[in-house]
């Protein structure tokens, strides 16, 4: 390995040259960091922001708003389409990053003060924890209009200690029962009770391979479609009070109310297309594909409203190829209960451009753009530009619910939520171990809520 002196000279020079390039590049990096500067919190609120309307104007030209959210792919396209009119109107730009590691990015961000202007929030639980870092939207939005246009439970979910810190940019209705009207058409006479649903299954047994389609695989979040099942059953069997105490950690998992829900879910798993192994191995997005097979693989799929943008639903036609009815009531005392979910949005930096964008995003005008593209429902009652009757019906369901609850697993502490997901996967595979699974969840509950 002994090299002639000449070569070693050349190499030393090359190394020095490389160092010089690095030094030059380092000094060049001052400009990107400089461009970040406008996103820092404004020292004082400009007078123009007193009227929070998207037309607030030309003063925003050239400014930018950094936004981070979980949306990628087609959702990212929809979000960018939604902010485009605002960009054209104000001359400001939206700089969007999508990541499914949102929780990590924002947790480190809140702890260190490095935050985007606007951000999607992983759930109401984290929003409450970060309430001190979030800007009070009371002075940013046209609060009276926002409250009039939005379902009250959703407004409440975004409020922490009387401070409005989160708004729902898009929502979804959980617990819809999807079917193919070409197999059996339930549109004129949907089963209103659990017993009627069982009767419908018994009557149409011969037309399908299995009554239910079910798939709980979803990468690291595998199991969540099953948690929706349990939540829907708890809500309708035991009522909203037990439901709310349950996610708050005040009802044990071994409580008969929760155990009954697991057992009812177990009956569904036992009669699902492909059996337990297929349930765990099938991605939730493709779980409904057998609905459209000939002969049909199953009669029903239980899934949220966003399924219309996924799997075979994306290519089938709403109304003629698929339709839904709301989850039937089990205990008549709690009739008309609906479970919803949604993507919360909050504001970390109070800049004029961020205020303007935030105010714009909740308007019916902006919301209409996304709902028209599909796959999302709006929390805004005046956003009605749905692409089909199916989406419009699910949006009305959400707005007119007699009893409204938010997705329980999303409200639970992260550790509890993850354990709930894992428990579903385990229960699907080993239904006989239910007592041990619930006892384990009780242990997690003690730790997760203890902090």
């Amino acid at each position: 390995m002994i090299e002639p002196t000449r070569t070693s000279w050349t190499k030393a020079t090359a190394a020095l040259a490389a160092l010089a390039i690095v030094v030059a590049a380092c000094s060049g990096a001052a400009s990107p960091s400089g461009s970040v500067a406008p996103s820092q919190p404004a020292a004082s609120t400009p007078a123009s922001s007193a009227a929070p309307s998207p037309s607030a104007g030309e003063s925003l030209a050239g400014q930018s708003v950094t936004v981070i959210g979980t949306w990628g792919g087609s959702e990212q396209d929809a979000f960018l389409a939604m902010v485009k009119p605002w960009e054209e109107q104000t001359g400001a730009t939206v700089k969007y990053t999508g990541t499914r590691d949102l929780n990590t990015v924002l947790t480190t961000g809140v702890a260190s003060g490095v935050l985007p202007d606007l951000a999607g929030l992983p759930g109401p639980g984290q929003m409450t924890e970060w309430a001190d870092s979030l800007v009070d939207l009371g002075g940013v939005l046209d609060t009276a209009t926002y409250k009039a246009e939005t379902a009250a439970p959703l407004v409440d979910l975004g409020t922490v200690n009387g401070k409005l810190v989160g708004v729902f940019i898009k929502t979804a209705v959980k617990g819809l029962i999807w079917y193919d009207p070409k197999t059996v058409d339930f549109s004129s006479n949907p089963p209103a009770t659990w017993d009627a649903l069982q009767a419908a299954i018994a009557a149409n047994k011969s037309k399908v391979t299995a009554p239910w389609c079910l798939g709980v695989e979803s990468g690291a979040a595998s199991g969540w479609p099953g948690t929706d099942w349990i939540e829907d059953l708890v809500l309708r069997q035991a009522g909203p009070d037990v439901y709310n105490q349950w996610w708050q950690g005040k009802v044990k998992w071994t409580d008969p109310a929760i155990k009954t829900a697991f057992q009812t879910f177990g009956e569904v798993v036992a009669t699902s297309y492909g059996g337990p192994t297929a349930v765990n191995a099938t991605n939730f997005a493709n779980a409904g594909d057998p609905l459209f097979k000939t002969p049909p693989g199953c009669l029903f799929l239980h899934q949220a409203s966003f399924i219309t943008g996924l799997g075979a639903f994306a290519t089938e036609k709403a109304g003629t190829d698929y339709n839904f009815f709301p989850f039937p009531d089990i205990n008549s005392q709690y009739a008309g209960a609906i479970e919803g979910a949604g993507d919360l949005f909050g504001m970390f930096h109070d800049t004029p451009a961020a205020r303007s964008l935030m105010a714009y995003l909740v308007t019916a005008q902006a919301q209409d753009i996304w709902v028209k593209i599909g796959g999302a429902l709006s929390a805004n009652k005046n956003a009605t530009d749905y692409p089909d009757a199916i989406s419009r019906r699910s949006a009305e369901l959400l707005q007119n619910a007699k009893i409204f609850v938010f997705d329980a697993s999303d409200l639970m502490p992260t550790a509890m939520n993850a354990a709930f997901w894992a428990a579903i996967v385990q229960y699907v595979q080993h239904p006989d171990q239910l007592d041990a699974i619930l006892a384990d969840l009780d242990k997690t509950q003690v730790d997760a809520y203890g902090q």
């Binding site: 030393a12 990107p32 990628g72 499914r100 961000g109 702890a111 260190s112 935050l115």
Partner: protein, 299 residues
């Protein structure tokens, strides 16, 4: 090299090469088998990157080999049509190259000092550096981001922040590898240089550095691949602040929606992303084996 010795050995005996080949046959079979097993996931990914989503959900990739008619370039077309893919590519290069060069430069200086210069506390310092190898980088995010953030030096969101972060994360291993390699260089070389009046700086640039090139090249491959494939560090130090600087990994992960839609594009995106590391690896591979055993044997 091996072919040359084989033919050279064939001449005198005549009967000898056959048993030798026979003796080596199981070894070659095992190597070929291991390579096939090792490559299967990549081959599967490659085949799937050319298949339409309906086919992906219905059958395994191996079934596609027998019906190549269904192959499509749509996935690649979609990935390459993303508006931010070319910017992401440039950003990835702009992050990876300095984030490879800086730690190696610093590590080479440090390794030389640890190997050939005596100063008080040298061993203790070296132990501290090696100890840093076991610190999980995730645990450093909050304190470092505080330092980079508006309360600190305010560089979060700039390329400089990612370069410095990767330099810090890469240094312990780089110093460890280079020190062991440099420590093995013959003492006489440095002694005679010192007698001839060479300063430590001259000895470093004209002796130590050129003789360490294989180890440096191996290290460069490791560090480049680590930085190129990194998603989390870029997301933490750039993502929230300045999406303009986002590397290819963030762009690619954004092809998938929050509910998992669009996953069929990932296989194609993986091969687009893989192109550069593959070129780097093939370009530097002759140094690779020499470098990786560097520092392993004390002599």
């Amino acid at each position: 090299m091996t072919t040359a010795t084989a033919t050279a050995g064939a001449r005198p005996g005549g009967a000898r090469p056959a048993p030798r080949l026979l003796r080596r046959l199981p070894l070659h079979l095992v190597i070929v088998l291991l390579m096939v097993v090792w490559l299967i996931p990549t081959i599967g990914l490659l085949v799937n990157s050319f298949r339409p989503p309906e086919a992906l959900t219905q059958s395994g990739w191996w079934t596609a080999i027998f019906s190549p008619s269904q192959f499509t370039l749509d996935n690649y077309a979609h990935v390459l049509a993303q508006s931010d893919i070319s910017a992401g590519f440039v950003n990835s290069l702009f992050i990876s190259i300095p984030a490879t060069v800086i730690p190696i430069m610093v590590a080479a200086f440090a390794a030389y000092a640890f190997a050939w210069m005596s100063f008080p506390g040298r061993d203790l310092l070296f132990i501290a550096v090696v100890g840093l190898l076991v610190v999980p980088l995730q645990s450093t995010f909050i304190p470092i981001l505080q330092l980079f953030g508006p309360k600190g030096v305010n560089i979060a969101g700039s390329f400089l922040a990612v370069w410095l972060a990767h330099t810090g994360y890469g240094l312990p291993f780089a110093i460890f590898l280079l020190r062991n390699f440099m420590g093995e260089l013959p003492r006489e070389v440095f002694e005679s240089a010192a007698i001839d009046g060479a300063s430590p700086v001259t000895a470093f640039f004209r002796l130590a550095l050129p003789m360490t090139v294989p180890a440096i090249a191996a290290l460069a491959i490791f560090q480049f691949l680590f930085v190129w494939n990194d998603l989390l560090v870029a997301l933490i130090y750039l993502g929230a602040q300045n999406p303009d600087n986002k590397p290819l990994t963030i762009v690619v992960s954004n092809l998938v929606s929050s509910l998992g839609g669009g996953w069929q594009y990932l296989a194609a995106a993986a091969f687009v992303t893989m192109a550069v590391p593959l070129a780097v690896f093939l370009g530097l591979q002759r140094y690779f084996v020499r470098g990786i055993v560097g520092g392993s044997v004390k002599g």
